[in-house]
């Protein structure tokens, strides 16, 4: 196992790296290291052996934390590039080509995509808007900061939920830039939705029937927003799209389960101890879901690097995009 991959895996495990983009970039950079230090063993071809090597890295990372769809796409891209390397290239040439391909993927599909999304999304923010966001989506954060830099006057409501409370980090960064914010937990969503003019959400991935797969709670926010006739805009880079179709919204086969202790205990409140002695009870299960799926009915628009599209147009992007990046 390459030390870079090992390090990234441990960072996933401890939660030091979280968020779809950050995880994906960390993984790709680790792969670059792997490629850099790779030398073809005798009697083997580079294409096949390196693909095997990457596969073993991936299975290690999967052990640390289940892979996200975006990472799956990135891995597919890397493997595809390896398979397509012309046999005529020397080893060093092949490695250089592969490294630059990965670099290109990071810059174009992730970082570049975000700037394009910001450019699109900012046009949707008007003076006097009250924007709601849930959790701590990086793309939305960039949109808000950019809109603030442009001098737009708006307020932000940051909605958060236990146990991760990532919204607090977002809130901190927004406040530092002088954006007018309010903070609440998802329990109060129906009260505050009344004053909201637009909802901005992030996504872990988008499936081809328009279902948005995102941090648990997102579906609830989108549903309440739809009930209040508030437009829901999802910011998501196109590399996170997937051709799969999800129909069963309540149970996603690939959903990740978090630490049950995180919801059975309240940090810093020793007086809330109603579960003491019950944790091993056979009749009790703690469900700490990490993700949920939002049906496309509750999504007004998806903002991607290919423009702003309705959720029904996701298959088009998947088709076109997949073709392009598998080239």
């Amino acid at each position: 196992m390459h030390p870079a991959v090992y390090k990234v895996g441990l960072q996933y495990l401890s939660g030091d790296i979280s968020g779809g983009n950050a995880r994906c970039i960390a993984m790709l950079q680790a792969f670059q290291e792997v490629v850099k230090d790779y030398s073809t063993p005798p009697e083997k071809t580079l294409n096949r052996d390196m693909a095997a090597k990457i596969s073993s890295c991936v299975s290690f990372l999967r052990e640390c934390r289940p892979l996200s769809v975006s990472m799956g796409n990135a891995i597919r891209f890397v493997k595809n590039r390896i398979a397509k390397l012309p046999m005529t290239l020397s080893e060093s040439e092949a490695k250089a080509a592969l490294k630059s391909d990965i670099e290109r993927f990071i810059n174009e599909k992730i970082i570049g995509a975000d700037t394009v999304i910001v450019k699109h999304a900012v046009t949707k923010i008007r003076d006097g808007d009250v924007l709601l966001t849930y959790g701590s989506p990086t793309a939305v954060e960039m949109v808000l900061l950019h809109a603030h830099e442009l001098g737009k006057k708006f307020r932000v409501l940051v909605v958060d939920s236990r146990p991760k409370l990532q919204g607090q980090l977002l809130l901190r960064r927004l406040i530092k830039r002088g954006i007018n914010c309010a903070y609440t937990h998802i329990n109060a969503i129906s009260y505050i939705m009344h004053q909201v003019t637009k909802v901005f959400l992030g996504a872990s991935s988008v499936f081809s029937n328009g279902t948005v797969y995102s941090r648990v709670g997102t579906a609830c926010v989108a549903m309440v927003a739809t009930a209040f006739r508030v437009p829901v805009l999802v910011c998501c880079e196109a590399y996170k799209f997937h051709e799969r179709v999800i129909l069963d919204y309540s149970i996603c086969s690939s959903n990740e389960l978090g630490d049950p202790n995180a919801i059975s205990k309240v940090h810093g409140r020793e007086d809330i101890n109603y579960f003491d002695g019950l944790t091993n009870n056979a009749n009790l299960k703690f469900l700490n879901l990490m993700y949920d799926a939002t049906p496309s009915d509750y999504i007004s628009m998806i903002i991607t690097d290919y423009g702003m599209v309705p959720p029904t147009s996701v298959p088009v992007i998947v088709r076109e995009y997949q073709k392009e990046h598998l080239l």
Binding site: K176, R177, A182, H194, Q195
Partner: protein
């Protein structure tokens, strides 16, 4: 919350009755003994000033009641009749079956906390009102912390240790913001005994601890806030009686006890949980912060939408907007977050009001902008006014189109004229600013009739004196900022801290936290004259120069040469400056004064300069004993001329004048000339101006030499 507390309090009451048969008593000091709220406090005592439309003392009394206190002594001195009137009419007296008995103690002569407690002690011998341990708070305290447990803790400790006479409440992480006075304390981590107490230490400044403290474990912290809530045993009163020079509760009493090891009295601290609120309003900034905290409901249950002292509760809407049910408001008015609107208030069309508190019975015209301000009761604001970060007291009238710049305080019944712009940080009152430096308390204590006289006299006064300050059809005097602490104004006003100052503070606090280089300071930033000259404020000499200038300007008002010399000398030693620096700074101040005195032409400026130099050359001469120092003055003057276009042409004339008056010797001028001869062409502007003079001096000296030979 309140419901939970009361049974607890009752239980403790039973316990304590079993043990000691004592009632829980509190002394509320209804006088701050400071001048932070002047000019407002000249007309009304601080404890009756409305805090989010409810007099401050009601917050204190309501809290004491819910905390299980049974008897409160309200100690009044300044404006005592107003306080008593208020209390007699309030619910505290009229309630049929009061849990809380409110009594008043009047002592108009007391000028400090020390006096007040001594007075109570004297009374004590006759009436023995105070039966045991009591809570000592000031009438401007806002809190919701429970006291019963704390008092019990104090009593238990007292029983074990006779010398533990006081428990002081401290709080971490106050919501008052970072500019509140710095406090530095040392505590024994196990017993919580207070070992050292120091107020107002500058951040990063040195603090001296007694060596003996370091023998055992000591917890030293500077992030605590003193809530000024004390549980005291009766000994505290007698200690004040014994030490008649104790005035200030903290500065004298606490530090006195800590230093004095003969009696061995001990003070303990109690840190309250962060879920409870406790704060004292001691200046306008804390007034602002506490108001905001109340609006944000940190002080629950003492919030505007709950009736806790006979106040009429307001309705709470979204985004922290509290509105009286009968407030009339045009639909086109934009009312923003965190705003309170009182009963009977009318608001016209198209205005914009946010982050502000508006009292009862106000009438506000159309297109008025009110931001971050405190408008008290019965204020009239006409169309198109703009009010930012101001405090506007009862009965003020602001005529159409007037603008209040940030930091303004308008005292009672002031009238601001049409389209008049009240400059930032000014304080306007119907009463004239007291010019003599009497003790503050006497001034705050202006009894009712005297006030009335002054008020009626105002109409005459304003016609003859400088009262045209507020534009046509206006009344009131603008107070001058009397302290040399003009730069400190921003600390004690209701304006949000300017971004650049904030950046300075945070930088001082921790160096990691400077990311926001891009922040633009808000328009309401303080710009005093001294700031614009001194760009390099970090420079020690810059500070020194500024202080000397301030001292000098003060001295001119007082017209006392000896005094100014003494002051400047003390500054000089404080900053460790050479006498040449002093001379430079004094001369600099003189020329600044000349430039700042109104003048129309260069010749008038010259005349100003010469009169000032003639008058004050004694001071200057003191530092100009040697040629080097004189050269320094000429160079300083040269620098000034470069900065100020007006002075430039007068350079030679004034140097000549200095020579005539023997302030500068000819040697100095000649040597300066020689030094400058080697300089760049651009530096020689003033040398050329002086060529004639130098030439003349040279000839004169040659002649003298010839004569000598």
């Amino acid at each position: 919350m309140g419901a939970q507390k009361k049974p607890a309090a009752a239980r403790v009451r039973d316990d304590s009755e079993d043990l000691t048969r004592q009632r829980l008593q509190a002394i509320v000091l209804a006088d701050s003994f400071t001048t932070q709220f002047r000019p407002i406090t000249l007309e009304r005592p601080k404890v009756l000033l409305p805090l989010v439309n409810i007099p401050m003392i009601d917050y204190t009394l309501a809290w004491l009641e819910s905390a299980g206190i049974e008897e409160v002594f309200v100690f009044c001195c300044a404006h005592s009749s107003q306080v008593i009137d208020y209390l007699e009419k309030s619910e505290w007296y009229s309630r049929p079956n009061p849990n809380l008995l409110v009594r008043t103690i009047v002592s108009p002569k007391s000028t400090s906390v020390g006096d007040a407690l001594r007075y109570i002690y004297e009374q004590q011998t006759e009436t023995s009102q105070i039966q045991g341990d009591f809570v000592l708070v000031s009438g401007d305290t806002v809190s919701n912390m429970p006291l019963a447990g704390l008092i019990q803790e104090h009593r238990d400790r007292k029983k074990k240790d006779e010398k533990a006479i006081m428990t002081m409440v401290i709080k971490k992480d106050s919501r008052l913001g970072i500019v509140s006075d710095q406090l530095f304390i040392a505590v024994d981590p196990l017993t919580k005994q207070l070992l050292h107490y120091e107020e107002g230490t500058a951040r990063g400044g040195d603090v001296c601890l007694d060596k003996s403290l370091l023998d055992s474990t000591v917890l030293v912290c500077n992030d605590m806030q003193d809530c000024y809530i004390d549980i005291c045993s009766p000994e505290v009163l007698s200690l004040f009686e014994d030490n008649f020079d104790y005035q200030h509760l903290r500065r004298h009493f606490v530090n006195g006890l800590l230093v004095d090891d003969i009696m061995g009295y001990k003070i303990f601290t109690h840190e309250i949980q962060s879920s409870f609120y406790a704060a004292r309003i001691d200046n306008l900034r804390s007034y602002d912060m506490v108001s905001k905290n109340i609006i944000q409901r940190w002080t629950y249950p003492y919030v505007p939408d709950i009736n806790f002292s006979g106040n009429r509760p307001l309705k709470l809407g979204r985004q922290g907007i509290y509105r009286a049910s009968d407030a009339v408001q045009s639909r086109s008015t934009n009312i923003g977050a965190s705003t309170v609107i009182g009963y009977g208030t009318k608001i016209g069309n198209g205005g914009k009001i946010f982050n502000s508190v508006i009292g009862n019975g106000c009438s506000i015209g159309s297109n008025v902008v009110i931001q971050g301000s405190y408008i008290w009761n019965n204020v009239t604001i006409e169309d198109g006014c703009e009010i930012r970060n101001a405090i506007v007291c009862d009965g003020v009238k602001i005529r159409a189109g007037a603008v209040l710049q940030p930091g303004v305080v308008l005292s009672f019944n002031v009238v601001v004229g049409r389209n008049f712009v009240v400059p930032a940080y000014s304080k306007v009152s119907l009463l004239q600013q007291p010019t003599t430096e009497d003790s503050d308390e006497e001034l705050e204590y202006a009894d009712r009739s005297g006030t009335a006289d002054l008020l009626s006299g105002v109409n005459n006064l304003q016609l003859e004196s400088k009262a045209s300050e507020l534009g046509p059809d206006r009344t009131g005097y603008i107070w001058e900022v009397c302290d040399s602490a003009h730069d400190e104004e921003w600390k004690h006003s209701v304006i949000p801290i300017p971004m650049d100052k904030l950046a300075d503070i945070t930088r001082a606090m921790d160096d990691d936290d400077i990311e926001d280089e891009s922040v633009v300071p808000p328009s309401g930033e303080l710009k005093s004259d001294t700031d614009s000259i001194n760009t390099d404020a970090n420079d020690d000499y810059g500070y020194f120069e500024r202080e000397v200038e301030e001292t000098f300007l003060m001295a001119i008002i007082k017209d006392d040469v000896d005094h100014v010399i003494r002051l400047i000398n003390s500054r000089r030693f404080a900053y460790n400056m050479a006498s040449a620096d002093c001379a430079g700074a004094v001369f600099y101040s003189m020329m600044r004064l000349a430039v700042n005195t109104p003048h129309n032409s260069a010749s008038e400026l010259y005349r100003n300069a010469t009169t000032i130099i003639t008058k004050w050359k004694g001071v200057l001469g003191l530092y100009l004993k040697q040629t080097d120092e004189q050269i320094e003055v000429i160079m300083k003057f040269e620098e000034m001329c470069e900065e100020s276009a007006e002075l430039g042409p007068l350079f030679a004339q004034i140097v000549h004048f200095l020579y005539d008056k023997d302030v500068v010797q000819e040697d100095a001028i000649l040597r300066w000339g020689e030094e400058k001869a080697g300089a760049d062409e651009s530096d020689k502007v003033y040398l050329k101006q002086c060529e004639a003079l130098i030439q003349w001096l040279k000839e004169a000296s040659e002649e003298e030499e010839e004569e000598d030979s």
